[in-house]
């Protein structure tokens, strides 16, 4: 029977719970990836079914702000990865910086929403709703993740740092795929 080592689960292994923690972590990561994957596929199908609506939606979006958000999330993920690499060293600073970059992402996204709402993005109908659902669900993850990063920074333990950093990278990965699908292609 294959062990978690055999399928490459050891990255998230924490000092306290070993394989069980690692398995739980990857179940969490994959539940996120599958949920966002389904939403992004639905978005793509809708844009093919309603080409005019897709063009209207895109005319209201702000790819420049989304690109800025990509930079913020990459910087945040980099700080989270740094915290993991520091091991038992001083992890508070990179974790807090990761959370602040995440909150910066949220601020830019809310500003973008306000611009889009004022410009009348609702005219794109169901596609606009799906856009807010997909990006809003991701935004909630970023805000929640930022809060958890702050909590872990307050009382850091190796296991929790690895867990939140890996989940944070999954949220980062979702945005990296979402950005070209929603804004650029």
């Amino acid at each position: 029977m294959a062990t978690t080592e055999d399928i490459g689960l050891s990255v998230g292994k924490t000092e306290s719970g070993g394989d069980a923690d690692s398995l739980l972590l990857w179940i969490l990561v994959w539940s996120e990836l599958i949920a966002f994957g389904a939403l992004l596929v639905a978005f793509m199908v809708m844009t093919v079914a309603d080409v005019e609506g897709a063009a209207l939606l895109r005319s209201h979006l702000h790819p420049g702000l989304a690109a800025l958000n990509t930079v913020l999330l990459l910087l945040s993920g980099w700080q989270a990865a740094l915290a993991v690499r520091l091991g038992d060293g001083p992890v508070r600073r990179p974790l807090v910086l990761a959370a602040l970059f995440g909150l910066g992402f949220a601020a830019v996204k809310l500003f973008e929403y306000s611009l889009e709402a004022r410009s009348g993005i609702g005219g794109a109908g169901a596609l606009a709703e799906l856009y807010f659902l997909v990006t809003g669900f991701h935004l909630l993850h970023v805000v929640f993740g930022s809060g958890i990063l702050c909590l872990v920074a307050w009382r850091p333990s190796r296991g929790n740092v690895v867990l939140i950093a890996t989940l944070w990278h999954a949220i980062d990965l979702v945005w990296l795929v979402m950005f070209p699908i929603v804004y650029l292609t």
């Binding site: 490459g8 689960l9 093919v48 910087l75 740094l82 520091l86 950005f179 650029l184 292609t185």
Partner: protein, 91 residues
């Protein structure tokens, strides 16, 4: 963290930021043409690959998890390419 590891880590960030800015720039100027859109999707995959291999520290892992994680962005970005081709042919 050794000096070499730190330098590699900073180089990864530099590449990610370059790809992010470059991808947004190319995407902004694509005008719906297929070739720049393909370039944007490849750059998006490259970013995802860096995050999976270097941020998640799976570069040295040869397991199923690494392959599955790399397949996730590849599959979705391939679907995005198919969508663009379909819309182009339709219209």
């Amino acid at each position: 963290m050794t000096r070499q590891a730190r330098e590699q880590f900073i180089a990864t960030l530099a590449m990610l930021l370059t790809l992010a800015v470059g991808g947004a720039f190319v995407g902004g100027l694509s005008g719906g043409l297929l070739v720049p859109i393909i370039a944007v999707l490849i750059m998006a995959y490259a970013k995802g690959r860096f995050v999976i291999l270097d941020f998640m520290e799976l570069r040295e892992s040869g397991g199923l998890m690494r392959s599955a994680l790399l397949a996730w962005p590849a599959l979705l970005l391939l679907l995005a390419l198919l969508r663009t081709v379909t819309v182009t042919l339709m219209g």
